[in-house]
């Protein structure tokens, strides 16, 4: 008898467990890649080949990030705990800007040894990341709301058709 290679051997409980494991694996890879890039940036800061050291991880990280964002957007999902409002977007952008600013400040200080200049550089680069994140999140939030509205409308129309 020919074995069907595509047959799912898992029952629904095992399927849920596997999805849970895969979800954890996905976020482990996501944050692991981000941390790896930061460490590489610190370790190979003076190297001319920094871009080549980080390129592989960066491409993988971006593919993963875009896939998650596109998948969520397509299905009208924003986040479990957070809502798509300006206040939350500002908070998230502030955190991103602050973390990036601190990292850049440390890198700059290790490179030049000038504290004031490093703090200034950190503030500027952190501020730039804050603005960039805020703009991206605002665009994404707007796209998410439109998509959710569309999906809700589609479902309501389908239900009306079924009733007729």
């Amino acid at each position: 008898m020919k074995k069907n290679n595509w047959k799912n051997n898992l029952d629904e409980m095992q399927e849920q467990k596997l999805l849970h494991i895969e979800r954890n694996g996905c976020w482990l890879a996501f944050w692991g890649l981000l941390i790896t890039q930061v460490i590489e940036m610190i370790l190979f800061d003076n190297s001319e080949n920094l871009f080549y050291y980080v390129a592989g991880e960066w491409i993988l990280f971006m593919v993963l990030a875009i896939y998650i964002c596109a998948g969520c957007l397509k299905n009208g999902i924003w986040a479990r705990q957070y809502s798509a409002d300006p206040a939350t977007n500002i908070k998230a952008s502030l955190i991103a800007g602050l973390v990036y600013g601190i990292i850049m400040c440390i890198l700059s200080y290790l490179r030049s040894g000038k504290l004031v200049g490093s703090i200034g550089g950190g503030i500027i680069s952190g501020g730039f990341v804050f603005v960039l994140c805020l703009v991206t999140l605002s665009i994404m939030a707007s796209a998410y709301k439109k998509r959710l509205e569309k999906l809700e409308k589609e479902e309501a129309e389908e239900e009306e058709k079924a009733d007729v």
Binding site: D11, E12, M13, Q14, Q16
Partner: protein, 70 residues
């Protein structure tokens, strides 16, 4: 919360967890977890279990709360 109704219904019929699992097409582990209350089965699986044990959904999966008792 343990599903003792399911466990008793299975024992009434003298069916082991392995046999019930085979009848409804899942693993023994899944039946064990349903009975111990560690897993909430889908409606389809609930129906399959009910059919296998000749019970209704109410018999095995409905829990009356205090208000309903009054």
């Amino acid at each position: 919360m343990k599903n003792l109704k399911l466990k008793f219904a299975r024992m009434e019929k003298d069916i082991s967890q392995i046999d019930l699992a085979k009848m409804v097409g899942v693993t023994r582990q899944t039946i064990g977890m349903i009975e111990s209350g560690d897993y909430n089965p889908s409606l389809n699986l609930c129906i399959a279990i009910c059919k296998a044990l000749d019970k209704t959904l109410n018999d095995l999966f409905w829990e009356e709360n205090e208000n309903e008792k009054k």
